[in-house]
Structure formats: structure tokens, C-alpha cells
């Protein structure tokens, strides 16, 4: 008799390990490196984040002199959040970047 049979039959009665994703969401743990957000109020325009970003994803807007993050290039390493002296950049738990039109 195949060895996996008891396991397979037990799985029929168990709760599935997967979830119905768009309806049921699993919260990422604390410290997850999701979408970085810039708080322009706290930003002191030191531009350290631009130098430290390995993907060169951070650009400066001409009018406000504050950084903005281009998510198309961002690799979510969290270096900018780490280096920011004013803690103006934080990593959120947001990980869904596609949108429905």
C-alpha cells in the first residue's frame, strides 16, 4: 500500500494550508519591508537616501526639493529608511502594487 495514503486521507479532513487570497488576507509580520513612504513634513532634504539607494529609485522633485520613490525601480531593501536621519522614510506592510482599472 502506498505510504502517502493515510496522509492524503487525513488532508481531506484538515483545514487547507492555503487561503483564498483576494478575499482572505494574511497580515505580514512586524518589520516587513513593504512599500516605502516618504513623509515630506519630516524630510529635511539631506538627500542621503538618494546616495544610498542601490537601485537609484529615488528622485527629487524640483519644486519642493523632497524625494519621491519610483516604485518601478525600488527593490524594497529598506536602506533609505535605515539611513534617513529624520526617519522621514518608513517601510509599510503594503505589498500589493497592482491595481484594477
Amino acid at each position: 500500500m502506498p505510504r502517502i495514503l493515510p496522509q492524503v486521507l487525513r488532508n481531506l479532513l484538515r483545514k487547507p494550508a492555503t487561503v483564498k487570497y483576494p478575499q482572505v488576507r494574511v497580515e505580514p509580520p512586524k518589520g516587513y519591508r513593504g512599500r516605502p513612504v516618504v513623509d515630506p513634513e519630516r524630510c529635511i532634504s539631506c538627500w542621503l537616501c538618494i546616495r544610498t539607494c542601490p537601485a537609484r529609485a529615488i528622485t527629487i522633485s524640483k519644486e519642493t526639493k523632497k524625494p519621491s520613490i519610483w516604485l518601478g525601480r525600488c527593490i524594497f531593501c529598506g536602506e533609505c529608511a535605515e539611513v534617513c536621519p529624520a526617519r522621514a522614510i518608513t517601510m509599510t506592510k503594503e505589498f500589493e502594487f497592482t491595481t484594477l482599472r
Partner: protein, 316 residues
């Protein structure tokens, strides 16, 4: 009037419409149960309807090397053969829609047509995967078909008739054939042969997706692939129905607590049980190689069927 009822029989019940609906539903159940057996949610039960519907509405892309009438006709012929068998097996009463003198022989022949069509489609597709898949299918056909025929023969010898209605009526009086200890090995052999006939693990060698993409069906797309899926689903229900009629007593009506349960319900329950059994089998094994599968069919499975045949012939 007779012509009208024949057309109704072949197109609506128990023909194309009924067989497709039940076939798609049962494969959907099969996929859902497979999902739960693998500890995941799995698709909804009606997923197969959505898949086939979507395929039907898609663009048909036929590669240049496969531009032949055979490639186009193969899925239609396969579906037609599968639906024809549906008319020959008892569904709503012990009496099938079409009756013949020796209908089991016709059924055996007709059940091979989808497999042969698949090979033709594979060979005519001009793809090396199709050709390899078809070659493997031929080899596997010689494995399971012999076992399948011997297993059917056992039931025929036991009852003494080549007519499916006679076998069903005999079981209604004498009890199911699977309960007879002499026929039990044959029933197991038939189940193994069904697993090979329906190309399910461990015998899904002709369409092993990690080796030869989708075997014979690699180049099919759009509506043609949808018809192939439909043919496969109808074949599943047909083979399950045949097994139910041969060994599980076929469709019979019951009266439970004063409520009349029609025999069609019995048919559905029995076929579902067989489909679920094959689902379990396909989820607990790895795919065999073609030489291992043939060895298995020609030794263990054939031996089981022949033991049963000898027992039926010798032990009164």
C-alpha cells in the same frame, strides 16, 4: 417518432448534453477533491465548465505542420465515440437507449476510438512531443487494453451473455458481481486498466507534462482543445458507468423509507464513487516509466484478471 427519440437520446439524454454536464461536473469534483487531498483549497467544482467555456471562446491556433483534416477531425470523432458509448450503457434503467445483440464488443471497440484519435492527432500535429506522446500511447494501449478485455470477459463468462442489459439484470437477482470472491481480482484489474485508459497517475505517461509537455495534445488550442477536454470528461463518465454496470450492479431503483429513488440517482452515485476512487489512486503515486507500466500491466494486472477467469471457469 422513433427517429425523434433517437435524436433526443443522442443529443440530450443520455447523450451529449447530459454526458457533458455530468462529465464536466465530475472532473470538477475530482479537481476539488485533489486540491483538498493536497492540503490546498483547489478550484471550485464548476471550474471545468469555466475552463471549457473559455477555451471554446478562444482563438484557434493550428501550427502550419498540423494543417490536416485528421488533426481537425480527431477531437470530434473522439467526442462522438465517447457519446455513442453513453447510449449503449444503462443509465436511467437496466435497458440502455440503444440495444444490440452483443453490445459489449461494440463498447470495447468504441472505447478505443478516443485513444486512437488522440494518437492520430499527436502524429499529425508535426511536433516531436505529439509524436512521442502518441508512441507512448500506443505502447500503453497494448498494456491496459488486454487487461480490460480479460476483466470484462470474466463478467461475461460468469453471466453467460455478451449483452450489458443481461448482465445488469443478472446482478439485480444474484447480487453484485464484485461481491463474488471469484470476480474480485477481475474487478481490481479492471480498475487498474481504467486508470490507464483515463491516463491518470501512475499511468499518465502519454501526457506526462514535465516530460513531453502535453503529449499528443501539445499543439491543440482553443475550441479543439475544449472538445478534447469534453471528450475526456465524457469518456471518464462512460468508463465509470461501464464499470458500474459490469461489477456494481448497474443503475437500480430503490425504495428507502417509502421514497422512490430513481435509478439515475443510483447511476450517479456509483459513477461518482468510481471517479473518486481513481482520484485517490492518482494522488498517492508517482508516474511510472513506460517500461515499468507495461511490465506492471503484463505481469501483475494480467495475472489478476486471468486468475479470476480461471476461477470463474473452474469453480462452479
Amino acid at each position: 417518432m422513433e427517429v425523434l427519440s433517437f435524436i433526443l437520446g443522442s443529443l440530450v439524454f443520455p447523450g451529449l448534453l447530459f454526458a457533458s454536464l455530468i462529465g464536466l461536473l465530475y472532473i470538477g469534483i475530482d479537481r476539488k477533491v485533489t486540491g483538498h487531498m493536497q492540503n490546498r483549497i483547489g478550484p471550485p467544482i464548476w471550474q471545468e465548465f469555466l475552463d471549457v467555456g473559455k477555451l471554446l471562446s478562444k482563438e484557434d491556433i493550428t501550427p502550419g505542420a498540423a494543417q490536416s483534416p485528421i488533426f481537425t477531425a480527431a477531437p470530434l470523432v473522439a467526442l462522438g465515440a465517447a457519446v455513442t458509448v453513453m447510449l449503449l450503457i444503462p443509465v436511467s434503467s437496466p435497458q440502455p437507449t440503444l440495444t444490440m445483440v452483443a453490445d459489449l464488443i461494440v463498447i470495447i471497440y468504441l472505447l478505443n476510438i478516443p485513444a486512437i484519435c488522440m494518437m492520430l492527432g499527436g502524429y499529425s500535429s508535426g511536433s516531436p512531443f505529439g509524436a512521442t506522446g502518441a508512441g507512448r500511447h500506443v505502447a500503453q494501449l497494448f498494456g491496459y487494453e488486454f487487461v480490460f478485455i480479460i476483466a470484462i470477459l470474466v463478467a461475461v463468462v460468469r453471466v453467460g451473455s455478451l449483452g450489458l442489459p443481461t448482465i445488469v439484470n443478472y446482478q439485480a437477482q444474484q447480487g453484485w458481481l464484485i461481491l463474488d470472491w471469484r470476480l474480485l481480482p477481475a474487478a481490481i484489474a479492471a480498475l487498474v486498466a481504467i486508470q490507464g485508459k483515463l491516463l491518470r497517475v501512475p499511468f499518465d505517461i502519454p501526457e506526462a507534462e514535465s516530460e513531453i509537455v502535453h503529449g499528443s495534445l501539445t499543439e491543440y488550442s482553443g475550441p479543439k482543445l475544449a472538445i478534447w477536454r469534453l471528450a475526456y470528461d465524457v469518456e471518464t463518465i462512460v468508463v465509470a458507468g461501464l464499470f458500474a454496470a459490469l461489477f456494481l450492479g448497474g443503475p437500480t431503483a430503490y425504495v428507502i423509507g417509502g421514497v422512490q429513488i430513481p435509478s439515475i440517482v443510483d447511476f450517479l452515485i456509483k459513477t461518482l464513487a468510481i471517479v473518486l476512487l481513481t482520484t485517490t489512486l492518482r494522488n498517492i503515486m508517482a508516474r511510472l516509466r513506460i517500461d515499468q507500466a507495461l511490465k506492471f500491466y503484463w505481469t501483475s494486472a494480467t495475472l489478476l484478471a486471468i486468475i479470476s477467469l480461471v476461477l470463474v471457469l473452474v469453480v462452479p
